[in-house]
Symmetry: C2
Subunit: 651 residues, 2 copies
């Protein structure tokens, strides 16, 4: 995409941004503060800037007079980059606060998508499904062998396929289908995972349908179910869709779901509703992609341990009770229709195995989907969703743990927390003198609340700008009305009532920050504990793979500032998105994954953090911003020292 250079004055800070991006966001990415409290909707009129060189495309706003416009004033939030430009930010005080203001520029991670070609290039392609069109000889008095025998012997003679197995549902279809197009039929062969296994004839279709061979990959999340339709010939994703897991009505998290499952018929009920959600996603992606349901050859599923057991109707009672025993690590392939999934009766559902009660198939899938199990690099894999799971290791060994991080990063337990949806504050900076905010919301509309990545950025900024201390408490003596005490709790007002969509002030308070610190502390200390158990430290980490719902939006430097991530070169961090879904798709595309999956799962040594003696010490030490031990965060330490020096100079 075309990039333009935007220079912000007076501090002369430049940033390259893609054409079409708003100026407000560009400023934020440059680490330049512009007051703005309406999220980017153009409602507050605060983000006036002067275009000194170059042009911006302008969306009209009532907050600027024609005269102002002629002078070159624009609202940053309503101006779209369309050339190189110099933009002057009106400075209310003459004091140059740039030395105070500069935190790290926005730095999100590169998104890594594994493609079909990569799989091929890496020699990982062992196609799981193959179709042949066969023109069989018609039976007559001299040749009246059984239909199935005719098929099997034809495949033997013409395609060198031997030792084939045929299931009963296929046998049932055969008589009618053979005769529908004059004994011209397409067979679907499912290749064995192990070399010693047998190829199975899983489907027969009339006529030639060899070009229609599809898979469905699904991630069964506690909150959301995502699915993709994949073309098994090209490897392309044909459609993708998601929906909420309807089990949510019976409990927000896995523990409440398990409690519901323990009631009479509870398990049946939960199984039924998750399948309804799965079928809804299926319907959507089948409709979107336009594929025939009949031509779906395989289904792959990944979910956490509780989601997997609920879907398979396996009693989850002992997952939530010490010593936290799941029922099984590995589940055999099952018929999709046997659990109620609306696909042809030839479709096998492959379910990712579980490591432990809280490190489930979604994580195994993520590890395999991200390629962590094939790299020699020491990798930290971090999946932050409704809960957080950590895996450390490489192709030779892996240690993993679930962190009791809670859903703070999904907005839960945060007063104005919300999911990453339209109106969620996702970016933030603060004027170092007036403490006025700059807010950017998803969709550039007036704010409704704070999403996970926004929360991290807000907390990191407030901390680095000296608004909160390292225990997350507000400085009581700052000269701003935005910090106030309400019901005995200190808070910072991000947006006043008239600037929001919710007819209330939106603020972040000390309890929110405490929850965030607990959550990030649980994750950081989880990683620390695992590393220490294997005799290593963060310095040994060669790459970090981030996965989960909010990963791509997280400002990595901010995440390091609060001590969620260790300080590491951001080039070594990659984001794989919904890793669970990625692994499910990989498993659909190649048997290589299936061959390795049990080995990988068994290799993943699970640590119950609550049972690991060093964990509590690590956790307590991590309940600070960024950590009790600042030596671990040298870049932050240096920035904070520079700010301190600048402050001293100003005084």
């Amino acid at each position: 995409m075309q990039q333009y250079k935007i220079t912000f004055l007076p501090n002369n800070i430049s940033v390259n941004v893609p054409a079409g991006q708003h100026l407000l966001r560009s400023a934020l990415e440059a680490g330049v503060h512009i007051n703005a409290s309406c999220g980017g909707e153009g409602a507050c009129g605060k983000c006036r800037v002067l275009v000194e060189q170059g042009n911006v495309e302008e969306e009209k706003s009532g907050h600027l007079s024609d005269q102002d416009r002629k002078k070159g004033y624009r609202l940053a939030c309503k101006s779209i980059v369309s050339s190189d430009a110099s933009i002057r930010i009106p400075v209310e005080s003459a004091v140059d606060t740039s030395a105070l203001m500069r935190v790290s520029p926005r730095n999100t991670t590169r998104v890594e998508q594994i493609e079909f070609k990569d799989i091929k290039d890496q020699g990982l392609l062992v196609p799981p499904m193959q179709k042949y069109f066969l023109q069989l000889a018609k039976p007559d008095a001299q040749d009246n062998v059984a239909d199935v025998a005719r098929l099997v012997s034809h495949l033997g003679l013409k395609h060198d396929e031997h030792g084939l197995e045929v299931s009963l549902p296929v046998i049932r279809k055969i008589p009618a289908i053979f005769r529908e197009k004059q004994f011209g039929v397409t067979v679907t062969l499912a290749r064995p995972v192990r070399e010693s296994g047998k190829t199975q004839i899983i489907n027969v279709q009339p006529g030639d349908t060899t070009c229609e061979n599809f898979a469905i990959a699904m991630d069964i999340g506690t909150t959301t179910i995502y699915g993709q339709a994949v073309d098994l010939i090209s490897g392309k994703i044909l459609a993708e869709s998601g929906t909420f897991n309807a089990q949510i009505s019976y409990g927000e998290d896995v523990i409440t779901r398990i409690m519901f499952a323990e009631k009479a018929d509870g398990l049946d009920k939960l199984q039924k509703v998750v399948v309804e959600s799965i079928n809804k996603v299926l319907d959507k992606i089948i409709r979107k992609s336009g594929i025939a349901r009949e031509s779906v050859s395989v289904l792959t599923l990944a979910g956490n341990t509780t989601m997997t057991q609920l879907l398979l109707k396996v009693e989850p009672r002992f997952i939530r009770r010490s010593p936290y025993v799941p029922t099984s690590k590995i589940y055999p392939p099952i018929k999709a229709i046997d659990v109620g999934i609306n696909l042809g009766d030839h479709v096998t559902a492959l379910v990712y195995p579980q490591v432990s009660s809280y490190v489930g198939g979604d994580i195994v899938s993520g590890v395999m989907g991200s390629g962590m199990n094939r790299t020699h690099k020491l990798t930290l894999f971090l999946d932050i969703g409704t809960n957080a799971e950590v895996v450390i290791g490489n192709k030779d060994w892996m240690a993993c743990a679930a962190c009791s991080a809670g859903p703070a990063f999904e907005g839960s337990g945060i007063k104005f927390g919300m999911r990453a949806a339209k109106g969620a504050i996702e970016d933030f900076s603060i004027d170092p003198k007036t403490y006025e905010p700059m807010l950017i919301t998803i969709g550039s509309v007036r704010p409704k609340g704070i999403c996970g990545s926004g929360l991290i950025t807000i907390a990191a900024t407030l901390f680095e700008m000296g608004v909160i201390n390292n225990r997350g408490k507000f400085e009581r003596n700052l000269d701003t009305d935005r910090i106030r005490e309400k019901n005995d709790i200190y808070e910072y007002v991000l947006a006043y009532r008239n600037e929001t969509q919710i007819d209330r002030d939106i603020a972040i308070n000390e309890i929110d920050i405490e929850n965030l610190i607990r959550a990030k502390g649980a994750i950081y200390s989880g990683c620390m504990t695992l590393l220490q158990e294997v005799g290593m430290g963060f310095d040994d980490i060669e790459q970090i793979i981030l996965a989960g719902g909010f990963g791509s939006y997280v400002d990595l430097e901010k995440a390091m500032t609060i001590g969620l991530l260790p300080e590491i070169d951001t080039d070594k961090i990659m984001y794989v998105g919904n890793a669970s879904l990625l692994g499910a798709r990989m498993c659909a595309l190649t048997n290589q994954v299936r061959r390795e999956v049990v080995g990988v799962t068994n290799m993943m040594t699970n640590f119950e953090l609550s049972e690991t003696s060093s964990y509590m010490d690590h956790y307590v030490a991590a309940l600070f911003l960024p950590h009790t031990d600042m030596i671990r965060f040298p870049k932050l330490k240096k920035r904070m020292q520079e700010r301190k020096d600048a402050l001293a100079k100003l005084r």
Copy 2:
């Protein structure tokens, strides 16, 4: 059993019979005629005999005065052998008709039952199911592996069992069952049929149930369903039961069933009712044997091609249409509950494969159950039930065919035909001078009709005694009222109305005999055709294995007299009863059968007799008693010559 020697006078013919047998039957076995037309009920009073030496136990009858009794007269049908004895038969004429009367004495075949010990002794025992009791360690904080992993690793460490597979239904049971008896559990392992296969954990039960390990074997007949409960440890049959196949309401034979299945919902309906019958048999044998349904580990099924397809809900349409194509030879193992059979969800049903549309799994099962596939002896296997199937061969090759014999041997198409049940005439002889009959019925009650074995004996006796000719037509000029013309059809009255249970005369007519000749002709010519196709003749046959419902009652010499069987030393004939059920039981007891079954099935070369050019000639030649070519029946020829000579002497 104690045997006694009974000598019948005046002709001084002796026979050894078991204690407790009636005199009437003993006479019949000796080939001695005593008039008796009430079947052995004591109603006609005709079978008076004089006990000259020894004693008989007597059931009282109103037909003898006290005076007669004192003189030593008894009714043969009411007298039970209890010592050696000499019995004089009052002869109405002074003429010694013994030379005329002697046909062959009754000669039924030895019943061959393959026992568990035989299987063991023959090295065929590859136990398919094994149970272990395991006391697992209870999980704790240091050892909280998944339940299934705990089980699998225990089996690996303590029992050297590796590469185990566990199905979803078992996984579902595990959490509760492990905790029911403090982690003391019994597992059932199903051994793979092929060496390369994997052992499967198919069941878990709380506590120690290692001594309860059962199989159910079933024969799914067109008419009747039989089942046995088998102890997999001792090999013993614990209970046996049967019931009519409720599909009978939708058609007597396979063709009418297939026609019904072609109607809307017809297949579903037939599947449902046969499963109901199966479940009824199951209930009976489970009740009779007192075993727990839960401890049934496996189900084995054998049925003809149509019965198999109907049970498995596989479209049977093409079975009845030229070129008579079945859908599949081999069916994979299926879950019993998947077809509606009321057994635990861990139970796999193994279904015998089919050779062709009319040589089905019942025959393959019979071949394997009887051991035909393991003998080097050239064997003729003959299963006569609702239809008749022939297999010729040995362990190295086999040829088979279905004969369109029809159900004459089950009493169908015979005016007074009936199944082998109480009141059926099963034995018969005739006074060579008066043509008065001696009848013995099943249960020694007044006759109701004629069963298959009775029909053979009656026809053979009428033929050998010159009452019917070799085309089955009655001699028109014999001096007896029993031969009469009724509605233009000649018949022989076996029992008059007042001697029967049905308030009508019971007779055998020329149409009956014609049907019998057609049926036996179809079987004999089927055998001939097969033999000729492989370049052999009856002389090459080293043994005959008879199977089917009526086999054990058939008088072999009589069957040879009518030309149903070739003349062969009767020692070479054995009867295996319900061979289909026998094979099903063998398959339940040892994996050896399962290993061999596909090979045997593929080895069985099917001949469609209607497509085999020589068949029609053989058939036409066989439409005589015993055959156009008497040279094939030298013993009969000799007896008939002797009778002719005796007759000439008497004249």
